[in-house]
């Protein structure tokens, strides 16, 4: 048994952390936060493309590095830790992985090399309003050629070149690949709790698209895509949660009250210990998800769901108690606490809320018990 990443994978993570700690300081993240016209950090995005991260898990024949999903997990953790304001998840976890899972040879050849080169930005467009989208009753429709409907919110929808759109077709659901640079696509930027990652409403009027997978039968493909994305997002959350606990810990060591560092009071000590414990639970579940993801194990559904829920809980706790530990300072715009609080919420809902994933987890366990 070896329940850890390899030395090479850890080295990749260390390099990524070093790179991001220089190129993606919170000052850089704040540029996107403060500038409504800035939907993502373009030079960071270019840098990430140059580092080859976008093609990490894309096979070499499609222009990628041909590494595995474990390497992608390692990078996801660093992306999350750095609060990187780039469309990495939309492009890599969603678009590239969907193509790898269900794309035709032509689709792969057309897009995967472009993704690896940083020329294509993806978006996953499923939500149509408050509540988890019901894939069996979507209002957006596809008729084999034309897509019609409205998706809101779409993460990175205002800067993506291509979107994966869930749509009703033949009484089922199809996953439709759409080039967003065409007439009939209307994009409207949407204001969210985390302005460091842009969101848009996308309206489609008779827009051309092509399916990934079969007409009206994309359900299992979407489930698998979401399971895989859940693990990767869990690594982003784990990275963010770790850093929030570290940030709170550092502050608690240096901030004095009543003549002592506040980190010497048990109320703060135990709060931070609780955060650390939650982060370990998240990390261990994420590792299991990574194993299931990388080996395409039958356990992926429950492993992904557990990773997702544990990581959402950990980042939520860490980010809110980081503010609390900072006291009044933590509630100012200038101190970075709120960046984590905002991102924690984004990541908790971006591929479905923890509530949805708890249900998926129990369903998976029931299926297993029945098998």
């Amino acid at each position: 048994m070896n329940f850890d990443f390899s030395e090479d994978q850890k080295f990749l993570g260390d390099q990524a952390r070093k790179y991001l700690s220089e190129q993606c300081t919170t000052a850089e993240v704040r540029k996107v936060l403060n500038d409504d016209g800035m939907a993502c950090h373009e030079s960071l995005w270019s840098g990430i493309a140059e580092m080859g991260w976008l093609g990490t898990a894309i096979p070499e024949e499609y222009g990628g590095l041909g590494l595995g999903m474990l390497e992608l997990c390692v990078l996801a953790e660093e992306i999350g830790r750095a609060l990187a304001p780039v469309p990495f998840s939309s492009t890599v976890y969603m678009l590239a992985e969907a193509l790898k899972l269900g794309g035709s040879e032509a689709q792969k050849q057309a897009l995967l090399p472009e993704i690896a080169a940083g020329k294509v930005i993806g978006a996953y467009a499923s939500s149509e309003g408050p509540g988890a989208p019901d894939l069996s009753a979507l209002k957006t429709t596809f008729d084999g050629n034309k897509l019609n409907g409205t998706k809101i919110p779409v993460l990175d929808g205002d800067i993506a070149t291509h979107a994966l759109v869930t749509a009703a077709e033949n009484g089922g659901v199809s996953l439709v690949l759409v080039d967003l640079n065409q007439a009939g696509v209307k994009r409207t930027v949407v204001k969210t709790l985390d302005p460091t990652r842009s969101h848009a409403e996308l309206e489609f009027t008779d827009v051309a698209g092509e399916r990934i997978g079969e007409a009206g039968q994309a359900g299992p493909l979407i489930d698998k895509l979401m399971d895989r994305a859940a693990v990767l997002v869990a690594f982003e959350q784990t990275g963010g949660a770790d850093r929030a606990v570290e940030m709170a810990t550092d502050y608690a060591k240096s901030r004095y009250a009543f003549g002592r560092p506040i980190g010497g009071y048990q109320a703060i000590k135990h709060k931070l210990a609780d955060g650390w414990v939650k982060n370990q639970v998240a990390r261990s579940n994420a590792y299991y998800g990574a194993w299931a993801l990388s080996t395409d194990a039958d356990e992926l559904p429950e492993a992904a769901a557990a990773a997702r829920v544990a990581a959402s809980e950990a980042f939520w706790f860490a980010s809110k108690e980081n503010i609390q530990t900072h006291g009044g300072m933590g509630f100012t715009w200038e101190v970075d606490c709120h960046l984590f609080y905002r991102r924690a919420k984004l990541l908790a809902v971006q591929v479905g809320s923890p509530k949805i994933w708890k249900e998926k987890l129990i369903s998976a366990l029931e299926n297993k018990a029945a098998a």
């Binding site: 949407v190 506040i262 703060i268 009044g328 933590g330 715009w333 709120h338 509530k355 949805i356």
Partner: protein, 399 residues
């Protein structure tokens, strides 16, 4: 045990309601926080009307302009006033915390000069205690007051000052002697906020808003005659202010169980047993807060003084607010991230309060400080070890 007014209470309530009806429009809907010049003007006008009608500061003695009424009358007035669109915000700190301190420690001249104008809303007050390095540990403040002839010269910085931008006066806690232990070297003053050297800057909060302020003091001169209490007795004076603050904290300015129940009903969540059970928990907490306040009011009406028990309010409401907002957002799934009144359900009440809630857990005493207060002052448990107890302020470690 009953929820009915006594005949005397009913008579007072009728009188209050008639007065309110004659002078204020009814509340249409719970709106956002109002601000701005126009609002301030309305607020001042209403305070004047209220004072002239004898309804400002009902429990204060008549000698200082109050009504000489009972605490229960004040409760009744507050209940009735809250169902009208009464612009009361700008006076809460001044009349609730500052002026009671002036009455307790000020000279006859102070009382004559400041109390009536505050009462009729002509002058607004703010409280200047917190500093960047003195939050939970208020007495660790650094703003210096140095004696110079008949004046004191003030230099330093205060923070989280509500209403500083429109205040005329403030009560200002300063350090006059750094060579003695921290609680012993403090002195309280009345400061004119319009004096040269006083600069108010809004704080950009994590929530994006700018409701609070920093206040900088640069060589501000205060005459010794505007001192409140003895030199070095500032902490004793501040405790009176803070005791009055405790009465004010609590209450949840955001969605509670009824809002999220309404939302859940709209979203078709009422068939979800997990949602139902959470709803039950929230209801019980909300009732716990509301009903505990009734118990306190009953005690007040019997002449009991408000004790440290009142710290319970904010502990109950601030965490619940954060939890409800978080759930309200997550139940909307990805859509819940949208923070736009036009798009998000219920005018984005969950999203906007989500960004406020962390502040509420800190303002007016953090969760941790409030639990300490309950443990020490209600349960009688030992104080935390105070390593700075007998150490001169300027010898103290401060990180």
């Amino acid at each position: 045990m009953d929820f009915n007014d006594t005949p005397e209470e009913a008579a007072f309530r009728a009188e209050a309601r008639a007065f309110l009806k004659a002078n204020l429009p009814e509340k249409k809907q719970a709106g956002g926080r109002e601000r701005g010049e126009e609002f301030l003007k309305r607020a001042k006008a209403w305070q004047k009307t209220k004072a002239q009608g004898g309804f400002a500061q009902i429990t204060w003695p008549k000698a200082v302009g109050g009504r000489g009424g009972t605490p229960m009358q004040q409760v009744i007035w507050n209940q009735e006033e809250s169902s009208f669109a009464a612009p009361t915000g700008p006076f809460q700190i001044g009349l609730g915390m500052c002026i009671p301190t002036v009455i307790a420690f000020g000279s006859d001249e102070h009382k004559k000069r400041y109390v009536p104008k505050a009462l009729i809303g002509e002058e607004i007050w703010c409280q200047l205690f917190s500093e960047p390095a003195a939050g939970s540990d208020v007495a660790g403040l650094k703003t210096r007051a140095v004696r110079d002839g008949d004046d004191w010269v003030i230099n330093g910085q205060k923070v989280w000052t509500t209403g500083a931008q429109f205040s005329d006066y403030g009560i200002l806690l300063t350090r006059t002697d750094p060579s003695v232990p921290k609680h012993k070297g403090l002195t309280m003053f009345i400061v004119n906020m319009k004096d040269p050297g006083v600069e108010v800057r809004p704080i950009h909060q994590a929530s994006g808003g700018r409701e609070f302020n920093e206040v900088y003091f640069t060589d501000v001169r205060i005459p010794d005659s505007d001192r409140l209490g003895e030199v070095g007795a500032g902490w004793k004076v501040a405790l009176v202010t803070l005791m009055n603050e405790r009465l004010a904290v609590g209450g949840s300015p955001g969605p509670d169980y009824d809002e999220i129940m309404k939302f859940g009903t709209e979203m078709g969540l009422m068939s979800d047993q997990a949602f139902r059970e959470k709803l039950a928990d929230w209801y019980i907490q909300a009732q716990g807060y509301k009903l505990t306040k009734f118990r306190t009011q009953t005690a007040l009406s019997r002449g009991d003084t408000p004790g440290p028990e009142n710290s319970i309010g904010k502990i109950l409401t601030a965490n619940q607010l954060q939890d409800i907002c978080n759930s309200g957002i997550e139940l909307q799934d990805h859509y819940g991230l949208i923070n736009d009144e036009e798009l998000a359900p219920m005018k984005a009440i969950f999203q906007s309060s989500f960004m406020w809630a962390p502040g509420l857990r800190i303002a007016g005493g953090t969760d941790e400080i409030l639990k300490n207060i309950i443990a020490e002052r209600v349960l009688g448990l030992p104080q935390d070890v105070r390593v700075d107890k007998d150490i001169a302020f300027d010898q103290m470690k401060s990180g």
